[in-house]
């Protein structure tokens, strides 16, 4: 299924805002996705610390959740976010790439339920977690 991965990568990387952030899809399939966000000084939320703004973390989590839904074997087509909650555990370390992993753990005909985690290079302590519900759209 390498084709599906390539297709999904092209799809995500064709989103104008994903491109503006430099998002890269690194894994996809069976309702799971992984996306990376490289450190970028334009995304800093507090110039005194150099920490990336929470909004950019929300964006990578939202994109990753959407990709996980679309990769689910029971998802026929596109998706849109209904609701997304983000919990911020700590500031991401300046200079480090942020990696988001999402898992679409349940899907019905109309709704997909997703959990995601954002990490920097310290894989023991998450930066943020997300839980969301997404629409399931016909092909």
């Amino acid at each position: 299924m390498a084709d599906k991965t390539t297709l999904a990568r092209q799809f995500i990387e064709a989103i104008p805002h994903a491109r503006a952030l430099g998002l890269a899809l690194t894994k996809i399939g069976e309702g799971e996705a992984e996306i990376t966000l490289p450190y970028n000084a334009d995304l800093v939320g507090d110039p005194r610390t150099g920490v990336i703004h929470g909004g950019a973390v929300s964006t990578i989590l939202d994109t990753c959740c959407g990709a996980a839904v679309m990769s689910h074997p029971s998802a026929p087509g596109g998706t849109a976010t209904i609701d997304l909650r983000i919990d911020y555990m700590r500031a991401a370390t300046p200079g480090q790439t942020i990696t988001a992993r999402a898992n679409c753990y349940h899907i019905t005909r109309n709704v997909a339920f997703v959990r995601a985690t954002a990490m920097d290079e310290d894989k023991d302590k998450p930066v943020a977690t997300a839980t969301g519900s997404f629409t399931v759209e016909a092909k």
Partner: protein
């Protein structure tokens, strides 16, 4: 004793606008998304100035859900800071210069943020207003709504909790 004459309008506007600019301009991510703020008295409206790079779904097209979340969060944080600092700005205790340089003046930290997506964000400017439901010494709860053409038809709403910046420990 006669009451003091009110300050000239230019002095009031200059003080408030300079303080707001100092709060907003230092943040690279707000420049990246091109978010600005309109001020009427102490009331702020966030403005997300549309650009093609904010698009998340090129087929509709629609604004990226992450951009919408970020816009609402930025509006919540700036409004909360503004309400928190306003009396100190008005009394002359702090000014724009302090906001830009004083390291003890910090933004509240987001604890959690929940966004309801009500409609897709159209490819045009968006507006947001935050309402501070409660602001305590440590925690604050804020509600935000965002709209485009018609204020009565919001395209997103959210609630979030924030950790307020703590004053430096008092010295004996």
């Amino acid at each position: 004793m006669p009451r003091a004459r009110p300050e000239p309008v230019q002095v009031v506007k200059q003080r408030r606008d300079a303080a707001l600019r100092a709060l907003v301009e230092g943040v690279p991510y707000m420049r990246f998304l091109n978010i600005s703020f309109d001020r009427r008295g102490d009331e702020l409206t966030g403005v997300l100035n549309f650009d093609e790079k904010l698009i998340g779904n090129p087929f509709l097209p629609a604004i990226h859900g992450g951009v919408t979340a970020a816009f609402l969060e930025v509006t919540a944080v700036i409004t909360l800071s503004w309400e928190n600092l306003f009396s100190r700005i008005e009394s002359g205790e702090i000014d724009a210069e302090d906001i830009a340089t004083n390291r003890s003046i910090r933004f509240p930290k987001t604890i959690d943020f929940t966004v309801d997506y009500l409609r897709s964000g159209l490819p045009r400017d968006a507006y947001a207003r935050a309402f501070v439901s409660r602001s305590g010494r440590r925690y604050a709860s804020v509600r935000v709504e965002a709209w485009q053409d018609n204020h009565a038809r919001p395209f997103a709403q959210s609630t979030g909790h924030f950790l307020m910046p703590q004053p430096a420990a008092a010295k004996d």
